[in-house]
Subunit: 228 residues, 2 copies
Amino acid sequence: MAATALNEENLSFLKTVLPFWEKLTPAQKRTVTDSALPRVYYRGESMHRGSEHCAGLLLVKSGQLRVYIISESGKEITLYRLFDNDICIFSASCMMKNINFDIYVETEQETQVLQIPTVVYNQLNQTNIAVSDFTSQLMASRFSDVMWVMEQVLFTSFDKRLALFLLEQSAIDGSDRLTITHEAIAKHMGSAREVVTRMLKYFQSEGMVTLSRGEITLKDRKKLEKLK
Amino acid sequence: MAATALNEENLSFLKTVLPFWEKLTPAQKRTVTDSALPRVYYRGESMHRGSEHCAGLLLVKSGQLRVYIISESGKEITLYRLFDNDICIFSASCMMKNINFDIYVETEQETQVLQIPTVVYNQLNQTNIAVSDFTSQLMASRFSDVMWVMEQVLFTSFDKRLALFLLEQSAIDGSDRLTITHEAIAKHMGSAREVVTRMLKYFQSEGMVTLSRGEITLKDRKKLEKLK
């Protein structure tokens, strides 16, 4: 795709979201603005699939992304989610030779991004210490997210994890009525649909949620909070 | 502890193990050699305990380290191990403000290290892009190790994981006779002692291992290899 001149809104977004902006040389700033590509991804679109392609650094203007891993047999678990003003580094992971796991990224809502090509970001990273430090910090932050998931999986019982997931999802959606399938929850949690359904039915019998086709309604947030 | 002049052997080790050595300025090289501290840790000694202290970058001259996390209830899982010429970055994790999980490091063998104080390494990291890039690469590498463990825990059945652990341990020890308790294996694998014992007894009934007090002997490596 050809380079496009960034409009004022995108330029101002770049300056806000990239903490190293003021540390770039004029030439480096120009390279970024000349190569940054505004893109819209539709809901449910795949943005990054393992080692298949390497889109670059994705700066999220608005929307919602899910970052996950997937087993050979197709089992998934969500590592973290990204929202407005977050930055996706693993979509540029091909520039880091020591990353040898496959990360998948898909949109959960329509998502507007500015995309900085991997080759451009890599060049900045090799020549500007503020960028290099930012890469480290961002990776450390995602590492922390993943360790949190790992501790949850290893050390927390499934009922607590499910209560936590429902409360978080309700906060993200801004509603007590969640439009989500048991299958989708299983994919977030690295579990199986049957296990999710069984626990949700138990939650329903305890008056914490009500279940209907493709929908879960939180009925007793206090009880769920207590569980988590 | 006071700074000590490094002997020739330690100096040559520094140059070998730090890929950025030649990119340091003469002043930076001097800071490193003036502050690097040779230390010996005995077998089973704790080198790093979560946020308790921040020893610095540990360059392993010889020995064996286990890096792990621990739950509130005391359950453990090994994330990776370090051997000769490896570098432990998480013992300097306090310099990375986005690392908010607690890592534990202990020796599994008597271990000789050169320790570069956190404040010295942090200073290099902030001013030298070769160091900053090395930090990113090292973190990416450990991130990959941890993702491997996570995929194992999530996606691989326990019998396969145990077979893999026994074969790896045998490779590390250079012997078919492993001097290790079921409790210790459980701590490596993030499991419970009972679960390990049950599976080992099944392996014994299948002729793959023999069990005796505090010892496991691999009897049929081919069958174990096939399982993993």
